[in-house]
Amino acid sequence: MKILIVEDEPSLRELMSRTLKAERYVVETASTYVEAEDKLAVYTYDCILLDIMLPDGDGLRLLEQLKKEGKRESVIIISARDSLEDKVLGLELGADDYLPKPFHLMELSARIRSVARRSRGDGNREFVQGNVRLDPAAYRVFVGEQELSLLRKEFDILAYFMQRPGHLVDKSVLAEAVWGDHVDQADNYHFVYAQMKNLRRKLEEAGATIELKAVYGFGYKLVLTDQNA
C-alpha cells in the first residue's frame, strides 16, 4: 500500500514516515502544497495523510481538487485545528477521516488500516487475530466457532486491541479511548484493571489463542499465544 504524507513539519513528517515504513507501507512525503500537487499529478496513492495547514496553501483546496478530478485516493486529514466545524467541513469535502494533532502514532496506523478496509469494501468485516473473530457491526465475538459473551466495555477494549495487534497500549491511552475524554483526572486505573481482568479471564476460559499481556504494569499488548495456530 502506497501512502503520501503531506506535512510541513520535518520532524513529524520523518517520524510518521518511519512509523509507516515499519508497518510495511510504501511511503512518500511532501512538505509543501506545490510539492504535494506535483506528486499527485504524477503518481497515484492508496492513502494520503494531509495536513491542512501548509505554508503555501490550504490543504482543503488540495482535497477539493483531488475529488474534482475524481481520484480514488483515501484522504485522512491531519490538523492542529480540533473543532467540529473543521472536521465536518473536511469530511464533507470528501476526506475519509479527520485526525486532530497531537495524535498517537498507533492511532494513525489504526486509522489508515480502517480507511484501507473501507476502501476495499470490507469496512464492516470482522477483525481476526488467532482464533478470535470480532464483528464490529454486530457487536459479536467468536473464539473458534464458540460465541464469547462480553460486556459492553469488555467488547470495546477487545475491539481496540484487535485493531492494534502487537502494539503496546498504555493504560491511560486505553482508558481515554474506551471511557472517553473525561477520564483525564483519574489518579489510578483500577477501573481499567478490573475490566481487563474479566476480559482476560473470559478469553482464557474460552481457549483463545490471543492474550492481552500486561507489560510492566503500565500497559497491555495483544499477542498470539500459539504462533503456529
Binding site: E9, S172, V215
Partner: protein, 423 residues
C-alpha cells in the same frame, strides 16, 4: 454623590453669603439714601428758621402741620468750640401730639446773631424705624433667597439634564459594555465639543481594549495551535521508542511516565483551545439537550472510574430537564462539575447531585470554604491535585457565561456547593 446634587449644594452654599452681602449693601444704601433726603429737608428747615430768627421775623409755630420740631438754645463759647458747627445724628425724640418718643433725624446748627450770641438750633424730623426696616429687609431677603434658590435649582436641573444627556448616554453605554461583545460602537450623537471628545476618547479606549482582548484570545489560540505539532512529534518519538526498540523495564516505565505527563500537557492544551473556542463563540448550533440523561450517564462513568475510592453519588433528579444548548458544551458543563466533585472528594465520601426548579446543585465534602471569587478563574486551585488541569471550573464558568446561566459557589454545612441556574 451625584454630580447634580453636588452642583445644587454648591449653588445653595454660594448663594447664602451672596444674598447676605447683598442684603447688607441694600440696607446701608437705603438707610443712607433716606438719611440724605431727611438731612436735606432738615437743612432747608433750619436755614428757614435761622434766616427768620436773624431777620427778627416771627418763627414758625412748633409742629406746624408737620412732625418737624425745633428748639433754639443759647450756648456759651466753650460749648461752641467743643462741638462741630453742623451735626447730624439719629435720636429718639418725644412727640407731644403722639405722646411718645419716635426715632428721628436730628440736625444741630450753631450760629451767632448780630450780638455775637451763639445759639444752637436743633431741628428734628421723625423718620423710619430702623428695626422695622431691618426686619422687613431680612424677611424679604430670606424670601428672595428661597425663591431664587428654587428658581436657580429648577433651572439648573433642567439645563443640567439637557446638556449632560450625552454624558449619561455614554455612562449607560459603558454599563452595558462587555469586552468581546459585538456592539463596540460608542454612541456619539452630540454637537458639544467636550462630549464629542469624551466619546471619541471612550471609543479609542474601548477599541484598544477590544484589540488587546482579541489579541490575547488569538495569542492563546495560536500558541495552543502551534504547540500541537511539536507535542505530536514528542509523543510520537516516545511511542516509537516503546514500540520499536528493546528496552529494559525501567526504561519503559520511565518512558511511559514521560508520555503520561505529555498527555497531560496535550489535555491542558486542548482545554485551553476549548476555552478559546467558547470565548470566540464557535459553538453556534444548539439542540435540545436532556440534562438529566446527561447527568445519569456522566455519573455512571465517574462512579466506575472512582469505584476504587468508594465515592458514592446520591442523585435527586426529575424525570427529565431539557434545555437548548450545544451538545458538546452541555457535556463539558455537566462533566466538569461532576468531575470536580469526584476528584476533590475523600475516599468513601458522598457526592450529591440535585436538580430542582431549573437549579442544578452538585455538592461534595470539604474542610474549608474556597475563595468564591477566584474559584472559577483559570488555574486557580485550592490544593494542588495530581493530574488536575485547574481549568475544569473555568470551563463550567465559560459555558455558563456563553449561555448567560449563573454559576455560584457556596460553602454550606461543611460541603462545597456548586450551583448552575438556568434562568
Amino acid at each position: 454623590m451625584k454630580l447634580i446634587y453636588r452642583i445644587l449644594l454648591r449653588l445653595s452654599l454660594v448663594l447664602l453669603p451672596l444674598m447676605a452681602l447683598w442684603a447688607a449693601l441694600f440696607y446701608y444704601t437705603m438707610v443712607d439714601e433716606i438719611n440724605d433726603e431727611a438731612d436735606d429737608a432738615l437743612e432747608d428747615y433750619s436755614e428757614l428758621i435761622i434766616i427768620r430768627m436773624l431777620a427778627g421775623e416771627p418763627l414758625p409755630r412748633l409742629n406746624e402741620g408737620s412732625n418737624n420740631s425745633y428748639t433754639v438754645t443759647p450756648v456759651d463759647a466753650e460749648y461752641v468750640h467743643a462741638r462741630p458747627r453742623i451735626d447730624y445724628y439719629d435720636a429718639e425724640v418725644y412727640i407731644p401730639e403722639k405722646e411718645e418718643t419716635e426715632p428721628a433725624r436730628v440736625m444741630t446748627t450753631i450760629f451767632c446773631d448780630d450780638d455775637g450770641v451763639y445759639y444752637e438750633l436743633r431741628v428734628a424730623t421723625p423718620t423710619f424705624e430702623k428695626d422695622d426696616l431691618l426686619r422687613t429687609i431680612l424677611w424679604w431677603v430670606v424670601f428672595l433667597y428661597v425663591i431664587l434658590l428654587l428658581t436657580v435649582i429648577s433651572l439648573t436641573v433642567w439645563v443640567f439634564h439637557r446638556s449632560m444627556r450625552p454624558l449619561y448616554a455614554l455612562l449607560q453605554w459603558l454599563d452595558g459594555y462587555r469586552p468581546g461583545s459585538v456592539k463596540a460602537q460608542v454612541p456619539n450623537d452630540t454637537q458639544i465639543t467636550e462630549f464629542r471628545r469624551l466619546n471619541e476618547a471612550a471609543q479609542q479606549a474601548v477599541d484598544r481594549s477590544e484589540q488587546l482582548f482579541e489579541r490575547q484570545k488569538q495569542f492563546i489560540g495560536n500558541a495552543s495551535h502551534e504547540l500541537q505539532t511539536p507535542l505530536a512529534v514528542l509523543g510520537g518519538r516516545i511511542e516509537w521508542l516503546l514500540d520499536h526498540t528493546e528496552l529494559t523495564e525501567e526504561q519503559m516505565t520511565e518512558l511511559a511516565g514521560m508520555r503520561r505527563t505529555l498527555d497531560r500537557i496535550v489535555r491542558l492544551n486542548k482545554t485551553l483551545l476549548l476555552l478559546t473556542r467558547i470565548d470566540n463563540h464557535q459553538f453556534a448550533d444548539t439542540v435540545e439537550v436532556d440534562i438529566v440523561a446527561l447527568l445519569r450517564e456522566q455519573c455512571a462513568l465517574y462512579d466506575e472510574i472512582y469505584a476504587s475510592r468508594g465515592i458514592r453519588c446520591a442523585m435527586k433528579l426529575p424525570q427529565s430537564f431539557c434545555v437548548q444548548m450545544n451538545e458538546s458544551l452541555a457535556t463539558v458543563l455537566v462533566a466538569n462539575l461532576l468531575k470536580n466533585a469526584y476528584v476533590h472528594s475523600a475516599p468513601g465520601a458522598l457526592v450529591e447531585v440535585r436538580l430542582h426548579d431549573r437549579e442544578l446543585t452538585v455538592t461534595n465534602d470539604g474542610d474549608t470554604p474556597l475563595d468564591g471569587t477566584r474559584i472559577f478563574t483559570r488555574f486557580y486551585q485550592g490544593a494542588r491535585k495530581e493530574g488536575s488541569t485547574g481549568l475544569g471550573l473555568a470551563l463550567v464558568k465559560a459555558v455558563a457565561d456563553y449561555y448567560g446561566f449563573r454559576v455560584e459557589y457556596a460553602f454550606v454545612e461543611g460541603r462545597h456547593c456548586f450551583t448552575v441556574v438556568w434562568r
